[in-house]
């Protein structure tokens, strides 16, 4: 054993210290990112387990696997775990945490201890969630609608609300940290117009986290107070208005959709430019579109309430505003496409995911326009059409962008390459599995199958079987990366500093980086995505 010659590794953030304490008390943004990576992966599989049970129940029209009450709990906890404990922290808390200081040439986030605190808050919230799950769960739907949640249910509503309240503060602190870091910690020469779009995307996300999450926090607190002390702010018997709850809830929870998708757009911008060897088409428009989505996202929440009894005029206004969101979203899709046009495109794993993202996000976005239209919304609201629509955004968009990012920056995070063949295979399986799971649900919804029921009429069975089959394929696709990424940490080929020849400061430091990221503070004199400059000497002969 001792005779084997081990090549001396350069000191980096992973091998600098060992032991549990060196991780649990770290203030290094890269280590905290890995703590998040582990914890959100755990919750991803918990939430995925619930999803699988839901799909198994829906394999047959009869309610045979679980009872109605259990089914209600399954979709509630699937939603709460996936939204608050996976999707919202996924890209910001893992990739953003790891990459933002590297991308702007800083040694760390502005508040390293607050960064660690936010992970602990996430874990405490997660423990409350696990307590809820283990003790029989909660069946309010992930939306906690009153008065159902306040007056009629005997399940663990308060514990679940507290779980999300606490995890919300984790999200707020992450956003706060990012805003301050991006304002105050940029390296000399790293101007706003030179920031990678991933940083812009996380900045836009952070604005939503900071402005939106506190409103959810107080709303859930009022629900908890109503259950514990019998205050009556949403209680119709006292003149309270359940619609007020819905307004407050969606004031956060619609922008929360953009918390979940904007960072993914940032990831895709980085990958599309790298694997087409081109500067992003319309950098400024891309940056402004991110901010525009964040701002407009705050003005559309009531499109979740078209049939809840809001006035026709406000419904019209919210419908129109919802259409406006399509403008910056379309700018992004068109500009990614224009970036690829006449580029030298290579189809490595991250690029496969990124292409998947662009297609699926477009599908999800366009069906979102159907739902923004008042007449169609009345027909398909609370059907599987809605389910399919937002899963195209959340899973087809965000989860795929997250996987794209994990693969793209895996050499930087772990210092190892993942096996390319398995990477591509998993990307294909996920793409096929995803579409097979959720495309039939568009049809089901259009045919009128309502959401949130454990039984359905027999004529819907064929499409449901297809969907369940797709979910099984998707599950295989999700387990694969976990296996080969873990494998690569030990056996993967060692990665050099910049295996993709990518632009960006994070690729100028070693893989994995040292604790303080850069040996000396970089000075930036170039624009983002300067691929023409990077490739110029060796690949492009001076023709003209």
């Amino acid at each position: 054993m001792a005779t084997v010659a081990v090549p001396i590794e350069r000191e980096n953030y992973l091998n600098k210290e060992y032991g549990v304490a060196s991780w649990l008390f770290t203030t290094d943004h890269k280590r905290i990112a890995l703590l998040y990576l582990l914890s959100i992966t755990f919750f991803f599989f918990i939430g995925g387990f619930f999803a699988l049970l839901i799909r198994l129940e829906l394999l047959t029209p009869a309610g045979d696997l679980v009872q109605a009450d259990t089914y209600n709990k399954l979709f509630t906890m699937h939603g709460q775990v996936m939204v608050f404990f996976f999707l919202i922290p996924a890209v910001p808390a893992v990739l953003g945490n790891f990459l933002i200081p590297l991308m702007i040439g800083a040694k760390d986030l502005a508040f390293p201890r607050i960064n660690l605190l936010s992970w602990y808050l996430y874990i405490i919230g997660g423990l409350f969630m696990m307590y809820t799950i283990v003790n029989g769960g909660v069946d309010t739907g992930w939306t906690f609608y009153t008065p159902l949640s306040t007056q009629f249910l005997d399940t663990h509503v308060v514990a679940a609300a507290l779980a999300i309240f606490i995890a919300g503060f984790s999200s707020i602190l992450t956003g706060l940290n990012f805003i301050v870091t991006i304002h105050r910690m940029r390296a000399p020469g790293m101007t706003w117009s030179r920031l990678p779009l991933f940083v812009w995307a996380n900045y836009a996300t952070a604005i939503i986290q900071v402005l939106g999450t506190p409103v959810l926090a107080i709303t859930l607190m009022l629900v908890a107070l109503e259950r514990i002390f019998r205050l009556g702010i949403f209680n119709p018997q006292m003149g309270g208005d359940p619609l007020l709850f819905q307004h407050l809830f969606w004031f956060y929870s619609h922008p929360a959709v953009y918390i979940m998708i904007l960072p993914g757009m940032g990831v895709v911008s980085e990958i599309v430019t790298c694997f087409t060897r081109k500067r992003i088409f319309g950098y400024r428009f891309m940056a402004v579109a991110l901010i525009a989505i964040a701002v407009l996202g705050f003005l559309v929440w009531a499109h979740h309430m078209f049939i809840a009894g809001i006035s026709l005029y406000s419904a019209l206004a919210f419908s129109l505003l919802s259409y406006f969101v399509a403008v910056p979203s379309a700018i992004k899709v068109f500009n990614w496409t224009a970036t690829m046009y006449k580029g030298s495109v290579s189809f490595d794993t991250p690029m496969l995911y990124a292409l998947g993202f662009i297609g699926l996000f477009t599908m999800g976005g366009l069906t979102g326009l159907f739902l923004a239209a008042l007449g169609i919304d009345v027909h398909v609201t609370d059907t599987y059409f809605v389910i399919a629509h937002f899963h195209y955004i959340m899973v087809g968009g965000m989860v795929i962008a997250y996987l794209a990012g994990i693969h793209f920056w895996w050499p930087k995070i772990s210092g190892r390459m993942y096996p390319e063949f398995w990477g591509k295979l998993a990307a294909m399986i996920i793409f096929v599995g995803f579409n097979l799971t959720f495309f039939p649900q568009f049809v089901l919804g259009y045919m009128g199958m309502p959401r949130r029921y454990w039984q359905y009429s027999p004529e819907f069975q064929v499409l449901n079987v297809l969907s369940t089959a797709g979910a099984t394929i998707l599950a295989v696709g999700y387990v694969l990366p976990m296996v080969y990424l873990l494998w690569s940490m030990r056996y993967g080929k060692l990665a050099d500093a910049n295996p993709w020849d990518a632009a960006g400061l994070e690729w100028t430091t070693s893989s994995p980086p040292t604790t303080f990221n850069f040996d000396e503070t970089p000075v930036v004199t170039w624009e983002a995505y300067n691929y023409d400059e990077l490739d110029a000497p060796k690949e492009v002969p001076l023709e003209r």
Binding site: A110, R184, M185, L211, L222, I233, M238, G239, D241, T521
Partner: protein, 230 residues
């Protein structure tokens, strides 16, 4: 511009100061101070949104049930509320004097001003407790302990729901604020802060003023809207 100063901060004159309170990942005290100030302001924005949810709900029902709101407001203790407003304004004055003393390197007066701030804060909470006790004995806690002899019983209960929730969360922020001031006072006494390093004092001051301002809005909305002269 702050940015320009930050960009120039690699110049040896700034780095050479090497204050022991400079954390490793900042390149200058100025950058560190700018960052922590900005962080505090962003945090206060989240606080505005947090309380904003309740103010929004208050506003909606104030339009729905105006008469009940007046009825409820008339059962607030006008004088205790007014005295508490004065107490809090005084505490903000002593807080700002504490920040000023730190900037002038006056350690002892910093500590004294911070302790006086804490006393004002405790006085506020004491008065609030007296009020809470009064409301409880008069069965003015919706749900758990509610009986209302006057008109609009259930809508007045809604008013009191807001009263308890809003003042309750405000009082919770006061408790946290007192804890923070105590923490700062201890370190000030130990001589941690000076004209070169005072942003913890300033940030806690910002928080304290914010909590004060919340009360400045709560006071008229709860105590004054139904108040009759004489």
């Amino acid at each position: 511009m702050r940015l320009r100063r930050f960009l120039l901060s690699d110049s040896p004159t700034v780095v050479a100061t090497h204050n022991p309170d400079l954390q490793h990942h900042f390149s200058s005290m100025e950058q560190q101070q700018d960052a922590s100030m900005l962080g505090m302001w962003v945090f206060l924005i989240t606080e505005i949104m947090f309380f904003g949810g309740m103010f929004f709900g208050y506003m909606v029902y104030r339009f729905y049930y105006y008469a009940a709101w007046l009825e409820g407001s008339q059962h607030m203790d006008f004088w205790w509320g007014t005295i508490n407003t004065v107490v809090l304004l005084c505490s903000s004055l002593t807080m700002v004097l504490a920040v000023r003393s730190t900037q002038l390197n006056r350690r002892k007066s910093t500590v004294v001003f911070l302790l006086v701030t804490i006393l004002f804060g405790l006085a506020f909470l004491g008065i609030k407790a007296i009020e809470y006790h009064g409301h409880w004995t008069e069965h003015q806690f919706p749900g758990l302990n509610w009986s209302w002899p006057g008109p609009y019983s259930s809508q007045v209960a809604l008013f009191f729901s807001f009263y308890w929730a809003m003042t309750g969360f405000h009082a919770l922020h006061m408790v946290i604020g007192i804890g923070l001031v105590l923490f700062i006072a201890y370190h000030a006494w130990k001589g941690k802060y000076s004209a070169l390093y005072f942003n913890p004092v300033e940030n806690v001051g910002l928080y304290w003023h914010f909590v004060d301002i919340v009360w400045i809005y709560l006071y008229p909305l709860l105590y004054l809207i139904g108040h009759k002269k004489g």
